[in-house]
Symmetry: C2
DNA sequence: CGGACCTTTGAAGACATTCAAGGCCTGTGG
DNA sequence: CCACAGGCCTTGAATGTCTTCAAAGGTCCG
């Protein structure tokens, strides 16, 4: 039976993450939480559209909120329009991460989500997710956890913006990306930034020039090697120390 | 029967907000969303403890996450400890607002919540809320909306911190408090700030001195009247214009 | 009354921004 | 294939805003 095949596939993915080509449910941090049948049911409601091109919108501010999304490959930024109409980046999302929670309150998206590069996403229709959750508690529990993660991520960003210098903000973003790539079993010391300097600066509440100078500084002082968007973390420990004990880092 | 009495009370509160002395469920933005029976069921699971004194913790970072909370009267701040151990205020909560979502992901609170003044809160045990939600969908739908509100609030704060000057940040906080008091049918032009200058500055990512200077400036230029923590918004429109068109406000 | 804490104000200094210019890469069209 | 235009990124110098340091006034509470 087809169903059994799929179930088998998913179970395989469960034990062997990297083999899961078609879906990244495993990456959705679900692997060790849901059982194969539950995963199967979840898998059934996922819509897989064709990939988005760079700069293409996945949803726009004002759109009806119908689904939440998970990055399968590529990357996504979300932004809202400030009171004075300027764009404010509110998040970057890498493979295995979910986004689109910003419509929960009003049922309309407050943010716009845009692919930073060629990107494929899983779309989970919220209504079906609700139905599934009501019959399969572990699913709804896990969804709640994902929401909680979004809240915690946002609070960390608030703390970062409120209390850290330009160098610390840039360092923090790099370390965050590094850690998130590590979760996907990708290299945490060499990676390519999917976003531009302008997007980084906007996200971190700085100017492009300041971010650029931070990269130069980190390169000059041996924290990083930078080649355009290619980053190599040379001295990750010292970068971490910069966040906790900045005074030690001359 | 007692049940009928309570139901009647709640229904009364439903149509006549200000009469609801014992609980502020109506204030929880639930009034026009849930029907009286649903409200009754929700009311049944609410724990009403004795009020908290100023500076008293409602929950602490690391506590097991068991409940979410709604401010009945008084006010609350939440804060987390930064990477370097300093306190970072992440939110202020006024009557009718809910807090305590920060434990959804890990089941342990990331934040500490402290009463800013004598404060009474409703405690909603999360487990019971889940149970109730599974039999009464409107309840769980509403909870989801409340979570969504928290996410939107946090994102607005991110935008504020990333893109606004000191004056704008202070103005924005005052206008936010004003609007939130208005929702409770309280005066939106004269109010008493429950938090100290230090707490404001921490929340807004500024120093105490800068916040103090902002208040002085606003007073000097006729935006506000300030008397310690008593605030009167004299020219609210111009304050709003400061956020959208700062260049016009000399 | 005295002391601790919060708030305000001033002056000096630091850090990030603004303004300006040049380099590099990409893609387009001649 | 080369030339050129337009992004994007980098670097420098000047400016400005916020912070830091310092001190004094106010208020609350013992």
């Amino acid at each position: 039976m087809i169903k059994d095949d799929i179930l088998k596939n998913i179970e395989h993915a469960y034990t062997n993450p990297s083999s899961c080509r078609d879906c990244r449910m495993n990456s959705l941090c679900i692997s060790n939480v849901l059982r194969p049948e539950e995963l199967y049911k979840l898998d059934q409601i996922i819509k897989r559209g064709s990939p988005f091109q760079a700069q293409q919108a996945i949803f726009k501010s004002g759109d009806k909120y119908t689904s939440l999304y998970a990055v399968r490959s590529g990357s996504v930024k979300t932004f809202c329009l400030d009171t004075d109409g300027r764009e404010q980046v509110t998040g970057f999302y890498l493979p295995g991460e979910t986004f689109g929670w910003d419509g929960l309150n009003t049922n309309y998206h407050q943010n716009t989500a845009v692919a930073l590069e060629t990107t494929s996403v899983c779309e989970l229709p919220y209504h079906q997710l609700e139905l599934l959750g009501s019959t399969t508690p572990p699913v709804s529990k896990h969804v709640v956890k994902l929401i909680g993660k979004e809240i915690n991520t946002n609070q960390k960003l608030i703390a970062l913006l409120a209390a850290n210098s330009a160098h610390q903000r840039v360092a923090s973003l790099l370390l965050s990306i590094s850690a998130r790539l590590a979760k996907q079993k990708l290299s945490s010391t060499r990676f390519r930034l999917p976003m531009s300097r302008g997007e980084i600066s906007n996200y971190l509440g700085l100017t492009v020039e300041t971010v650029s100078r931070a990269f130069s500084y980190f390169q000059r002082t041996g924290y990083l090697k930078v080649n355009k968007k290619e980053i190599e973390l040379v001295d990750k420990q010292r970068l971490e120390r910069l966040l906790t004990h900045p005074e030690e880092c001359e």
